[in-house]
Every structure is written in C-alpha cells, then in structure tokens.
Point group: D2
Chain length 155, copies 4
C-alpha cells in the first residue's frame, strides 16, 4: 500500500466577528471551519477544491452534524483534524475533530456528507468524472480503513 502522507492539522484562530453576545464563538462558525479544514486537506493531498471546481465538479454538502463539547473563545487557536469516514466514488463522508491548540482539549466533533455534481446539477460518479480526484479520496479513505484494521487486529 502507498505510504500514508503526513497531513498537518489545520489551524484557525477564532476571530472577534465569530463571537456572539454569549461571549464565545457562535456555533454556526464551526461548520465554516470544517469547510476551511476540508479545503486545506485537499490541497495538502495535492488536489485542491478550486481545481475540482475548475474541472467542472461541484461538491455540495448533503448533511452536516456537529457536537459542541466546550466553547472556543476569541483568539483561541484550534486544530482541526479530519478523516474520510466513507467513500464509494459517489458519496463522501468526512469526520472532524476540533481541539484547542494550547491544551489539546477536545472542543467539537462533527461530520459532513457530500456528493459530486456537474455544473448542470447532475449527479456524478467521481470515479468516472475525474479519476485523479477519485484516487485521492480513495487513498485517504484507505488510511482510515487500515487504521481501523490495526485497531481490530490488536484483539
């Protein structure tokens, strides 16, 4: 199997305009940070989302979920790690974990589900539409399956 690429966690510093009057970051912003991390991940894998759109492929969000474990405050720096939880060439599920950079404490977990569309809104098989992007997701998905396998084989 191809060697696992070292992916740096994405970092984001919480901005003032992201807070609300409760005194910490508004919950809708984590959904946006997931997107930031997703774009960064694809670029670290060598194929950015901008390039994907330039190739005529859109990847809208079908579903999102987010669990807020602890608040993020103005100027806190968080690290966002993601993994490909499911991928079959048609649909993609990504999991996220947001931790505080200073303490390592968990702040948020989440998940997004995606499909692939052409510019006319027609559902695409990414495998057929763009083999290189397909290989990228497949590769990253493989790492997770391998990691799962290792966990299981310990028993």
């Amino acid at each position: 199997m191809k060697q696992k690429k070292e992916i740096r966690p994405y970092t984001h510093r919480a901005q003032y305009y992201e807070t609300d009057q409760m005194g910490f970051v508004h919950h809708s912003n984590y959904i946006r940070w997931f997107e930031e991390a997703r774009c960064d991940f694809m670029e670290q894998m060598g194929m950015g989302y901008r390039e994907m759109e330039e190739a005529g492929i859109l990847s809208p969000v079908l579903a999102v979920q987010c669990e807020y474990k602890a608040s993020v405050y103005f100027r806190d720096v968080v690290e966002i790690r993601l993994k490909i939880k499911a991928y079959n060439g048609i649909k993609l599920t990504i999991g996220y974990e947001i931790t505080d950079q200073a303490t390592g404490e968990l702040r948020t977990t989440g998940e997004t589900r995606h499909c692939f569309l052409d510019r006319q809104g027609k559902l695409l098989s990414l495998k057929r539409a763009h083999a290189a992007f397909h290989q990228m997701f497949l590769l990253a998905y493989g790492w997770e399956q391998e990691a799962e396998g290792e966990k299981e084989s310990r028993f």
Copy 2:
C-alpha cells in the same frame, strides 16, 4: 389540556450575502435560520430569548444536525416550522423543517439540542431556575406528544 396556540411559520428571504459561488445559499446559513426561527417561536409563545438572557439564563447549542434536500436560491422565501422533540427541564431538542414558500417543497430538515446555563456557565434546571420558561417549553412539548399520540391511536 391547554389549547394549542397557533404558531405562524417563520419566514426568511434568502439574501445575496448568504449565497456562495456555487450559486445558492451556503449550507452554514441554515444553522443561523434555525436560530432565527427559534427566537421567533419563543416570542410567539410569549417569552422571548432576550427575556431569558435578561433573566440570567443562557441556552447554548449542544449539537446541531442538518440535512440539505434541495438548494435555496437568492430571494427565495422559505418557511421554517419547528417543534419541541424532547424536553425534560434540563435538556431541550428542537426539530426544524424548511420549505419553499412558493411551492411548499421541502428544502432542509434539522435538529438542535440545548441546555440551560447561568452566567457563570453552571448547568441549570430550567424548571427550578425559571418556572415560566419551563412551562412554556413543557406546553409546546405537550402538543407534540399529543400529536404523536393521535397518530398512534389511529392504529
């Protein structure tokens, strides 16, 4: 049982700044619309979220989920209906349904989960902390249970 109050669905017109370059509303905004609908619902029930904060009670979001069924475009008007799916005086679960006002078609469904905190971040029992707000959520939750019961008793 107290008569069911007639709650008008909340309406929102999609704004230009809510779109992204995919050409329709960015998925993070629906989470914000849920919040708009939630505040409007509480006000229609007679006890707004502003009053709740003035009484020293915060209600942060513990979790959110959202399924995107179809896109909302610039200037579309959507209707948002919500219901209290669970409430026990400590935790609150609200369900949402976003439909297109013009066609009635479903656009999005979602759910948020909440708790209640005092200004120091201590978990509150709303029942003890503020009986009137507690009664409000209990009442609205009762409507849903009754509706469920009616559905079941048909069998």
Copy 3:
C-alpha cells in the same frame, strides 16, 4: 414628472448570530443590511436585482462607508431608508439611513457606490445595456434631485 412611488422603509430584526461579544450587532453586518435594503428597494421599484443578474448584468460594490451613531441590540427592529444620491448610467451612489423602529432614533448612516458589469467583467453603460433598469434608477434619482430643489427653493 412621473409621480413619486411610495417606498416602504426596509425592516430588519437583529439576530443573535449578528451580535458579537461586545454585546451588540457587529459592525460588518450593517454593510449586509444595506444590501438587503437595496434589493428590497429595487423590488419595490418593480425590477429586482435577481432579474438584473438574469439579464446578465452584475452590479458589484466599488466602495462602502458607514458611520455608527449608536448600537443595535439583539431583537431590535431597524428601519432602513435609502436614496439614490448620484446616477449617470455608468455609476450609482446610494445613501442609507438606519433608525430604530421603536424610538425613531438614528443608528447608522452609510453609502455604497456601484458600477455595472457583464458576465465577462466588462464595464457596461446601463443606459445602453438595459433601458428599463436605467429608467428605474433615473426615476428614483430624479425624486432626490427634486427634493433637493425644493429644499433650496425655500431660501
């Protein structure tokens, strides 16, 4: 001269996600409210911005300015009035005034400047590109000049 159309002020209710940890609406949101009011104004004039884009004409913002006179708080309802301060078929300047609906007090004043582009980003003369939109802006601009004239003729 064509009779002045009665334009209702645009209303916006301040949302929780629009506040920041200072405890009132974040200053960037007023820029977005100007846009909401602008779109509403065009629709009340009979020709919406959506129709303008569908006709292949974009109207980006060239400049914006905003003076914050007093804060807007969560759930406050504001009224936004706008007027065409300058228009020559090529460039458009719009002025805005935001007041509190409950008290009538001034909250913010501002201004945006716009041009017109085709889908390729080429500068357009709106007069030549779309006579009906041109007439609309010219008409609304005329009202302001007339109002100015009346003010001056009082002296």
Copy 4:
C-alpha cells in the same frame, strides 16, 4: 526615538463561505479582514485586543470605509498592511491596504475609526485609562508621522 518594530503583514486565505454568487469574495468580508489584521497588529505590538478587553476597555468601530479596487477569489491569499493614521488618546484612525500575495497587486484600501469605552459604555481617555496601550498606539502613530516627515523633507 524608539526603533521601529518590524510588523509582518497579516495574511488571510479567502474561504469558500466568503464568496457569493458573483463568484468572488463578498464585499462585507473585507471589513472583517480589517478586524483580523487589527487584532494581529496589536499582538505583534505586544498588547492584544483580548488583553485590552480583559482590562475593561472596549474599542468599538465608529466608522468604516472601504474601496474595492479588484476582486479577491476563493483561495487567493491576501496581505493586509495597516498604519495608525491618527491617534490622540481619545480617538484612533487606522488605514488598511490589501494586496494579493502572489502578484503584489492592490485589491482594497480602507479605514476604520475607533474610540475607547469602559464596560458601562462611558467614553475613556486611553491615556488615563491604560498608559501601556496608549504608549503602544502613540509609538505606532509616531512611525507614520516620521515616515511622513521623511517624505516631506525630501523636497
């Protein structure tokens, strides 16, 4: 005179959620980027805005202006440079310049004006309220005056 501190320009990568359906970054976001750059500048100067709030001093925006010279696209990296254009212990004016990191081309210029308030909303003289923050702004303002002086003395 105290030596001029080397301030790194602030960098921001344009995010997908910052674009709109015109296909580039929505104009309201530059106002938010000014804020990001302002906070970063204060931290590089050694006294962050978070510390200022913790010391009981708020610095709301009194006015903002922004001129859009050229669009910023998804994933573009911009550099934001700022300078203290005016400061007298009571009011503060900051100027901004946004350039494209790859080409050095100018994208946007802007300005924000600020005052200082205590938690009760009372206007403060920063000089009296917090000498260290006052010295920081005075120092950075001095650099600009010196730069102006050098320009003038060339004639």
